[in-house]
Amino acid sequence: MHAETVNRRAQAQAAFAEVAPEPGAPKPDPILVVDDVIRRFGGLTAVDVKHVEIQRGSITALIGPNGAGKTTFFNQLTGFDTADAGTWTFNGRQLNGLPAHKVARQGMVRTFQLTKALSKLTVLENMRLGAQKQRGENFFRALVSSLWQGQEDEITVRAEELLERFKLDKKRDDFAGSLSGGQRKLLEMARALMVGPELVMLDEPMAGVNPALTQSLLGHVKDLREQGMTVLFVEHDMDMVRDISDWVIVMAQGAVIAEGPPDTIMADPRVIDAYLGAHHDAPLTVAEAEQQLHEAEAELEAELVPEVEEKA
């Protein structure tokens, strides 16, 4: 099992060996290809992505400072919001303009930043809901339970397997609303797997999860890759990004500004400028700090001089 893990990870990383660490770099086997997606809110351009490809079978992280448009970009791709322009294909099939439920049926399933457990349904009912093509979801067939009970039993078996894997099997008959925040995240992920997705899109899977559960969640995300799924996730936690992702895409002010493997992406000056410089206490040498100070002073003076002249 462990050897297998290494292989999958190695495979995924090998696929990126030839990929140039540039925004919009073509990948050997992209599952999702995005072109010229634009979303404006009034005068603000929230998303303006020229070209992005997501490699099949990999874990790709989407990072960027607050307000970079990561979640908005997610919403465009999954049909939860309507893009002003742009095209994207999933497995070669065009997805732009499709409503959210049809996107999910294609095999591209998302989770949400604010967990959406269906509180007054039991954990097991939450899971069953995720299954596709249920005969009993038609009003008239619903009236005759013999028409759907067999399929329901199959779905239940599958749901129980997943619940066991996510260690929620003891909670199966509890209301989802009674779970803790971390358990809800687990349930949401497990429920998304009931759909049978090829691409799992996780919007901040670690937000609001206590550190003890973080490791378990990380394990589950890696596990998705082991089972041949592709993962695209939005995250703030740098350590997590470094730990599990095979490739990192950086967004700032709506655009993709950099791409690359997680080890080197942090050193990319564009990333430091846009994101890390503002948030991390980036290691500065004394000389660098002084130089920055001088530059700032020079800029200030340049601005002040005209004012002084005007006054004079």
């Binding site: 959210a100 439920h101 959406k116 349904l121 809901l129 979801e137 009003f139 209301f175």
Partner: protein
């Protein structure tokens, strides 16, 4: 004070025509609000469409009874579609505003002077119930047991009414324990989550609106037939609010909730009203007149509801654990 009269009237009201009509109206609302979370404040509109569909077909156009029933049912479906197409994509509170307006539009249209020839204006329509009472298997007379007595016409309405209530409850029970009902309940909790799992939320909400509306139109048929007449002002917003009261009293999202709610609501309403009237007539209560009893009765009902919502918000059949989840 005549206690026998008081209890006789109260018990009769508890299983009488009003209880049946409000039970059906509230079963429809339970599908909308209790299971799917659609805040439909226009249930009176569905009743009006049913009642006027039936009455207009028979009285104005001289067509047969069963065609009238069909027109009423088809009318309810169309009204649901008309209401749903523009509003179901909007947030819940917009649906509430639009439905309350739509029900008022229906009432004002059938009330209008311009369409008096078709709908009868404020006087409404009558003489459409002949065929219905011709089917009555009970011979003329008074029927009942203990304190409860009904005449043969009322008994026929009640027979049909309770059969419809039982049938509606059976259908609701079957579909709500199926995967179809699971989708509805999930939509009530969070639409976007359901969308992300590949379900067409709009379609399910529309199905729920149509289903609940059709059950509401059954209540409209009974309302019109039991009175052998229909007037527009029977279908004011008050009807919808009483139906909500009945639903919350019994417990939303429970199959039997609306039925038991309707029975208790009407039993209590008439018990208190007749009790007060008797007390005033026998000089037990001297500081009010009989004419004031009606208003005070509604005040007491309101007070009772407030207490209910404070001490038992889940209603009679509700699950307290579910209410506790909302507080989190």
């Amino acid at each position: 004070m005549d206690w026998e009269l008081i209890f006789s009237r109260a018990l009769s009201a508890g299983i009488g025509t009003e209880a049946v009509i409000y039970a059906l109206a509230a079963i429809g609302l339970n599908i909308h609000f209790g299971y799917t979370g659609l805040l439909n404040f226009g249930q009176a509109g569905f009743l009006a469409v049913g009642a006027y569909g039936l009455a207009t077909t028979i009285t104005t156009f001289g067509l047969p009874f069963w065609l009238g029933v069909t027109v009423g049912l088809v009318g309810a479906v169309l009204f649901a579609l008309l209401l749903g197409i523009p509003t179901l994509r909007l947030r819940a509170d917009y649906l509430a505003i639009v439905t309350i307006a739509a029900a008022e539009i229906v009432r004002l249209v059938v009330r209008s002077v311009a369409l008096r020839g078709t709908f009868g204006g404020t006087d409404g329509l009558d003489s459409f119930s002949g065929d219905f009472y011709a089917l009555n298997p009970y011979s003329p007379g008074s029927y009942g047991f203990w304190l409860i007595k009904f005449d043969h016409r009322t008994l026929w309405v009640l027979t049909v009414g309770w059969i419809l209530v039982a049938a509606a409850c059976a259908v609701v029970y079957l579909v709500m324990k199926s995967p179809w009902g699971r989708v509805l309940k999930a939509i009530r909790e969070d639409e976007d989550a359901v969308r992300s799992l590949g379900k067409n939320v709009f379609s399910y909400k529309m199905q729920a609106l149509v289903f609940g509306g059709v059950v509401g139109s059954l209540a409209g048929f009974l309302f019109a037939l039991s009175r052998a007449a229909t007037q527009p002002d029977l279908f004011s917003t008050e009807l919808t609010f009483f139906a909500y009261t009945v639903l919350i009293l019994g417990g939303a999202a429970r199959v039997a909730g609306p039925v038991v709610g309707a029975m208790i609501f009407w039993l209590l309403l008439i018990l208190v009203k007749t009790g007060m009237e008797e007390a005033v007539n026998h000089q037990v209560i001297t500081f009010i007149t009989v004419n004031q009893v009606g208003s005070i009765n509604y005040m007491l009902v309101g007070l009772g509801l407030i207490l209910l919502l404070i001490y038992r918000p889940q209603g009679i059949f509700g699950d307290k654990r579910e209410i506790a989840l909302d507080a989190r």
